[in-house]
Each structure stands twice: as structure tokens, then as C-alpha cells.
Amino acid sequence: MTMTQALNLALDQALAHDERVFLLGEDIADPGASGPTAKLSTKYGVDRVLDTPISEAAIVGAAIGAAMEGFRPVAEIMIMDFIGIAADQIVNHAAKLRFMTGGRTTAPITVRVQVYGGLGTGATHSQSLEAWFMHVPGLKVIVPSTPRDGKGLLTSAIFDDDPCIFVETIRLRGQRGLVPTDPAFAIPLGQADVKRPGTDVTLISYGRAVLDALGAAATLEQEGISAEVLDLRTLVPLDVEAIVESVRRTRRAVVVHDAVRFAGPGAEIASILHSELFGVLEAPVERLGARFVPNPGPSALESQVYPSADRVIAAVQRTLAPATVRAGAHG
């Protein structure tokens, strides 16, 4: 099934099996719904799949209030760029309530957000802002790349006791793959997944950029280079053990993501690798991410902003080059 169908399945099963679950957001009910929430209001009623006003702060705030009372609300922020309006509720309430109240109140909400990057929507409808939320203690940040992971991780997020930011990617909507339909199928948060085993270099990625990593690995194989592709799947909790284990074997690493490279998730991962494996690494960890520029409208420009399989290959080649050649190289 497609990613959209997989996410729909996760929501459908959660609504079916647990009365505490309800969805709220803009244009999520039929007939206006077109994404993962389509047909759910028809099946479960508009009381459980609520269309809201365009009010991101109140959508998330209301989800928090209901979660405090024992519900498992799934709020949708239609496009991730809009999350700034709701950031106060996410950052100052959802993330901190458990700590600030000594566990007396908690906000086990799921905030589904959708990233529109790569589709020509320009600077305010395209951003991958997951690094913002990695920086806030109390939040979990999840970014699936396959339909199977989408279903398994969304199910886990909804029933997780902590607030989860669940990042969907529009460019992955049509991705197809096998998905277990057992309602109990869930993927624990905090477990990276080896999407392709390899021995010469580890390509560490998540979300859409996993496709770039896999594409690069396929091409590199023809050149006799064996690249392992590690899909993080969740950024918080981060599977440090899996990252270090893989790179300890391959001794080379390239981190690639659609979020801006500067101060992006890759910076933390590269830092961890340099600390943990300083004497093991054959080359500095390479980092690829979006260029440090507001996303442009024209596709000819936008395509220059994001990583690509070709850029991943070039980065891998830098890690394989002798140190004398590598000097001064910059990803």
C-alpha cells in the first residue's frame, strides 16, 4: 500500500480500537479531507474526526487539554511551516507539563505535520523543521520513510505516553510497500533500521532523504563500494547505539537529511560519532542537508537546495579519498 494508505490505516485502527483517540485539525474531515484522514470522519463521525477553524495554537492547546484528561488526541498541522503558530503550546506546555507538575499532568498528544518541500511551494510551505523540536526536552520526534514504518511508528506515537511530533513528507505519499495489517503492529520509538546493509560506509538518514541514500548505495555498489543505509526513523529518542555500531564497522559515515544542514540533526549525529569513534573513523563524518537559504519557488532553484543521490555519492567519495586529497573538502 502507499504511505498515505499506511498512515490512514494507523489512524483508522487507532480510532477503531481505542475510544480515547480522536483527530482534530484543518480540513481533515470529509469531504474536504484528501490525505491520511480521508474517509475517517465518514466512518467514525465528525465527533471523532473534527474539522477545526484555522487556529493552530488552539488545535494543539485543545489536544493538550483533552490529553490531560486521558484522551489520545491526534492533532494535524497541515503544513509543518504553520507549526510556528502552535509552537508555544508544543514547547511550553506539551513538552514540559510532565516535568513541571512532577508527573501530575501529562500531554500524550501526537502532532502530525506534513512537509511540502520539493513541490515548488516556496519558502513558507516547504520547511523541514524537525531540528527545532529535537532541541526541546520532553518531545519525541518521528520521521518515517516507508509505508511500513509510517504505520508502525504512527501507531506507537498515538499510544506513547509522551508528546510526539510526527513528520510526514508529501513527496513520500506515493511510496509503496508491504504493511502488516494486524492492528497490534507497531514499531517501537527509538529504533533505527538498517534499510540496506553494507561494509564500507554508513549513510545515516531519515525521511525522504533515505531515498537519496538508497539511490546512492545502489550506484556505489556498481563501483564496488558497499554502503549501509541506516534509517533513524526517530530523532528523539535517537538510536545512538545503532549509529555507533554501524559506523564502528564501516568506519566512514555520511549523514543526509532535508532539514537545513547548518545546526541540523546531522550536526548532533556527526558530533556523537566524532566523540565515540575518534580513533576508528577513516575520515571526518560528512553532512548533507538543505542549503542555508529560504526555499525558492522555481524548481530549477529548489532542486539545488536539497540533497540528492549524486550529492550523497560525492560525499561518500570524499570519505574514501586519501587524507591529502580530502583536505579542504566541504560538503
Binding site: 488552539a58 512532577g102 509522551d162 528523539v236
Partner: protein
Amino acid sequence: MTTDLTVDVSPEVQRRLYELMTLMKAADDRLSKGIASGELVCVYWPSRGQEAIAAAAGVCLREDDRLVTTYRGLHDLIGKGVPLVEIYGEMLGRQVGAARGKGGTMHIARPESGVMLSTGIVGSGPPVAVGLAMAARRLGLDRVTVASFGDGATNTGSFHEAANMAALWDLPVVLVCQNNQYGEMTPTEHTMKIAHVADRAAGYGMPGVRVDGNDPIALVVALTDAVERARSGGGPTLLECVTFRLRGHYFGDPMAYMPEGQLAAASAADPVPRFRARLLEAGNFGELDLDEIERASAAAVEEALATVLAAPATALDELDRDVYADPRNCPA
């Protein structure tokens, strides 16, 4: 609104109001005295002067009704029944605090008393109140959620979003604006074009009621209406309670922004002595009765403070708890 003590509320309710107001005032006075002298060390955003509103909520709400308040919440917390030990304990960083002392002054919650959130962010409470009210409806419960906030909050987008949503869905919410005439250091008339916060209600399709926020009887009458309306499915009300913040924005605020004479005039209208005078005039209580209530409030405050000061400080290992449900999820 002119209220008649003898008509509007029973002597029992009058007594309860005075007990609560004097307890709130005594709690603020003792804290203020302690901070000023260096005996107590904590941050504090004083509620002194706003007691009538919280006392009215205290007598109008059920224990299971929900309250969302703000960092200026000492009076609201007392009104809703949070034990003083848990409040002081939180302010002073002791293990007997509501959050074992780790959350601090601004963030006190106690679900057993219906206090679900004290927010440190102006305007951010009403959206959460919307969710609490949605939950009550889903659970089939007739409880009401009160969101308490200041005049400044009504200038935020967050307030607007929540007020619109509460009205749209006829949620059992009462929006209680404690208009203390200042948003931080800026007078309200410098931050909104309209004279009355209550007039904003019309824009949401809900009733807006303006009431003397220093008159506990008027407040009980108005709150009773709003709470009954919410409880019976009639939807939200915006209740503007006009009061004054007698100690400024934060404790120690020199209040240099306040025009000469304003504080003196506000102090002359202090709701606590004013209510005492009214009670005496109405004749159900004598001087000795009211003195006894004040003594009992002051004694309760001293007892709570002694308990808190004797309690151990917040444990350092609290840093390892409650960031996530499972501490193993915490990055190193």
C-alpha cells in the same frame, strides 16, 4: 451591578467568601513579608488585590470543575482548594510542593482539586481550557472549565483562537478575565482600543459580562450565571472582572510606571477590608466573628509555612525524572 448581601447569597456563603479572601490575602502578605526581609527566597507574581474573584470562583465551582490559571495564581489556587503547603512548597522548592518543588511558582497543578494548568505564558491557558471542556463533553460529565487570565491575555492570538473555538462548539467554558488594569508594565488603555474587555465577547458570539471584580457578591452572582450556562450546555461566557494589582507585576516591582495617586486610590478600594465593612454593615457577623476568621487565616498560613520550611528541599535527582515517561528516552 449593585448587589444586596442579604438577598444574593446566604450567610454561609458570605462567611466562606471572607474565609477565602482573608486566607488569600494572608498568604500573599506572609510571602511578601518573607521575601522582603530575606527570610524566604522565591520568585513571585502577586495576586494581592484580586482576591474577590478567586473567592467567588471558590464558592461557585465544584471540586471536579476544572481551572486553568496563570503565574499570578496564588489566589486562584487557594480558591480552588489547593492546599497551601503544596503551593508554598512549590514556590520555595520543597519536596512537599505540588510538583515536589521542581516546577516553580508559575507552574502549579493539582488535578485532585481540578487545577489542571498554571501557565507562565500570557494567553496560552484558554486553548488548553478548550481541550479540557472537550474532554468533559466526551466523557459525558457536566463539569465546567474556568480559564482565568488577565486583560493582557485578551490581546493574544491564542485567546482569540480559543474563544472562537469555545463559542463555535458551545463548550462548557467560562472565560474569566481578571482585568487588573495593567499588562506587565503597560496600562490596559494603551494596549486596546476598546474600553471594556467584555465587549470582545460579541465578536465570538458569546455573552460578555462586566462586573466589579472587587465585589465578591456581584462576582458570585455573575459567575453563578456563567457557570450554570456552561454546565447546562449553553456555551461559554466572557466575564470581565475589573480589579487592580496592588503589588505590581512581580514582587519588588517599583511600579514606576504608575501615575501618582492611582495606587492609593486602588488601595482604598482594597476588596478585603471593603468586604469586611459590608459584612459588618449587613449585620450577620460582628467584629469578633470577622477578627476570628482573619486570625484563623493567618494561623493557617503560619502553619503551612512552618510545614514547608521544615520539609526537605527538592531532591537533585528530580532532574532525572519526568522529562519523559521512561527516563531511558532522555538523550545523554
